[in-house]
């Protein structure tokens, strides 16, 4: 079903230099997202998941690998050649307050999208802005208000309105809920779900909250220290997690039922500046063997659609 794939990432690499050190932010990350589906990208802080988002949307340049959007390799396109693709993919950030230009009214913020791409007449633009605000649940009569006059949840709605303004097909949500209150988070989840249904959107949903990711995603990718350690559809990942890191991650999530879980992760995530040799998880892994310290495991398909990068599981 290759033709259904909207975005495909192959062996993505990104290194940052920090003084003399090199930060291995993203290393050999590959995955596909099918049209109309949601890929949940999970990982702890420093796992490189936000860097992946910025690489895909070409806010930063890659150090290797390819990004293929709807069959076109956009990895090295010039800003000019990229412009039609910019229309088709958008991003929603974590902190809505800093994602909105404080000097513009929310109407202008959304209208900017049409001005940048020279779409519509003035009257049409005004009409679209009102329709978009309506769609995300903001009273259109507030279009002349400034971002600071809205609550965090409303600001995030405005960010979402901006993201869907150009009828983009693909939207990256980079931790869009983590700065919001619990009662507001559900509203935004619901909004994202409804918009996906209505507009057929494809999401890359980045989060550290596994429960939210489970709720929203069709398939899930787990990152650890810049590498993809497991990739699978949602059902398999949660019912049959294979990578030892995924297993500990899942057992760390607190639940309302509150059953005591046995697996606990020892130690701290190592620094991406000098990642460990071999498997990135080996210093903390309860199942570690000699080979894990020597060779980096490659992501392999264990059963249909379930990929794992672990020597032990692969045997």
């Amino acid at each position: 079903m290759e033709d259904k794939i909207l975005i495909s990432v192959k062996n993505l690499k990104k290194y940052f230099s920090r003084g003399k050190d090199i930060v291995h932010a993203v290393e050999d990350v590959s995955f596909n997202i099918r049209r109309g589906e949601t890929l949940g990208l999970v990982g702890e802080s420093g796992s490189g998941k936000s860097t992946v988002a910025r690489l895909i949307i070409r806010l930063i340049d890659t150090d290797g690998g390819n990004i293929i959007f709807d069959g076109v390799d956009i990895t090295t396109l010039s800003e000019k050649a990229l412009k039609p693709f910019r229309r088709r993919m958008q991003i929603v950030f974590q902190d809505p307050a800093s994602s909105l230009n404080p000097q513009m009214t929310v109407g202008t913020i959304i209208k900017e999208q049409f001005l940048i791409h020279k779409l519509g007449t003035k009257q049409e633009q005004e009409k679209w802005v009102e329709e978009l605000l309506e769609k995300v649940g903001i009273d259109p009569s507030f279009k002349d208000a400034y971002p600071h006059e809205f609550s965090g949840g409303q600001q995030q709605r405005i960010c979402i309105a901006r993201a869907i303004a150009l009828r983009s097909e693909f939207i990256i949500c980079d931790e869009p809920l983590s700065s919001l209150d619990v009662s507001i988070q559900a509203q935004i989840i619901k909004l994202l779900e409804d918009l996906q249904k209505e507009l057929g959107l494809t999401y890359l949903f980045i989060s550290h909250d596994l429960a939210v990711v489970k709720h929203l995603s069709d398939s899930i990718a787990v990152m650890y220290l810049g590498k993809l350690v497991e990739f699978s559809n949602k059902k398999d990942l949660f019912s049959n997690p294979l990578h030892p890191y995924t297993i500990t991650l899942l057992s760390s999530v607190p639940t309302i039922k509150g059953e005591e879980k046995e697996v606990e992760l020892k130690g701290e995530p190592p620094s991406p500046i000098n990642p460990p040799e071999g498997c990135p998880f080996n210093p903390r892994c309860p199942k570690k063997e000699d080979i894990c310290e020597r060779e980096t495991p490659i992501l392999e398909e264990i059963c249909e659609g379930h990929f794992v990068a672990c020597h032990i599981v692969q045997r």
Partner: protein, 321 residues
């Protein structure tokens, strides 16, 4: 069980240029020795302020205008600053959300762990050093002796929070107040820290107040829960009772609005936004967002109605026969 802390009709106001903000609006609860109490609420619900008032740690524009607080037999509101300082850090330990800004970046970790002992003149320097070393070992810091010479920036986030816990516990407090201790940490580290707090509680036999916005976090740690919303107590009771048979619509909403990793469910978002606390709604603070609100909810503030054994709910629905 013996009573350790008793708060009665606490009212805390913040005086802002825009008006008076009722940060805590008439809250009463008790805490027994050895008990773990969870206070759950969203931002601005007054959950932190209600607890920081116990040691009168309030911003300059905040004032306790009414109520009484009795801790370990002492009337907190009548104590002098010196007497209060005796309690802070010695009888009551604190762990805050951000371990980086809570630690002094230019003093070694060892010194910071020893300091509460020295301030309160509890022991000699040598003794303090020994106790600090043991405490750091107890909170799970490997090679405590070496790491005592290091500075906070040399510790990871999770390790820093362990250091904070060591500082809070070094004087064997009767009460540990943990204000969102895991919010800035990753999931796996969060699990470690909660487990550590649990172990330390049983080892040192102290009471704990855990302030959090995450209901799930309380489920296997807290004995009792208080659910707060807009400066008011909405529901309180045993953790199991509150989570399994929630009686307040807000609590029910909280449970339905948060996805759970184990339960596949349709999310029911709470409509509307958190009210402006300077001009709060009349009656029940939750009524504008509550689908079950009745006429009385709009005009009169509901008292706590008993709904079970030690389980109370501030909702008029529970007050009807």
């Amino acid at each position: 069980m013996d009573l350790l802390l008793s708060i009665d009709n606490l009212n805390v106001y913040f005086y802002r240029s825009e008006g008076v903000l009722k940060a805590v609006d008439g809250i009463s609860y008790n805490l027994h020795k050895g008990e773990v109490l969870g206070i759950v609420g969203e931002s601005g619900s007054g959950k932190s302020v209600s607890v920081l008032s116990i040691v009168r740690l309030l911003p300059a524009n905040g004032k306790i205008v009414d109520g009484s607080i009795s801790f370990d037999g002492k009337d907190i509101l009548k104590l002098s600053m010196n007497e209060l300082q005796d309690i802070r850090g010695k009888d009551i330990g604190f762990v805050f959300q951000d371990p980086m800004s809570s630690l002094n970046p230019v003093i070694t970790v060892g010194q910071q762990v020893m300091e509460p002992l020295l301030w309160h003149n509890l022991c000699s320097r040598e003794e303090a050093y020994k106790r600090a070393k043991n405490m750091l070992g107890m909170v799970g810091i490997p090679f405590p002796e070496e790491r005592m010479k290091e500075y906070p920036f040399q510790f990871s986030g999770g390790m820093r929070q362990r250091v904070m816990i060591a500082i809070a516990l070094i004087c064997n407090p009767k009460l540990l107040i943990a204000d969102e201790p895991t919010t800035s940490l990753d999931v796996t580290t969060q699990a470690q820290i909660i487990r550590l707090l649990k172990n330390m509680r049983s080892e040192l036999d102290m009471s704990v107040i855990l302030i959090t916005h995450n209901l799930a976090l309380t489920s296997n740690f807290c004995d009792r829960l208080i659910i707060m919303y807009a400066s008011n107590m909405m529901e309180t009771g045993g953790t199991k009772d509150v989570l399994n048979t929630p009686s307040h619509p807000y609590t029910r909403f909280l449970l339905d609005a948060v996805p759970d990793i184990e339960v596949e469910k349709e999310l029911v978002p709470i409509p509307g936004t958190i009210p402006d606390l300077i001009n709060p709604p009349e009656g029940c603070k939750f009524h504008p967002r509550c689908p079950m609100s009745m006429d009385i909810c709009r005009t009169e503030k509901p008292p706590l109605f008993p709904v079970g054994d030690g389980h109370y709910s501030a909702c008029w629905l529970c007050g009807r026969e």
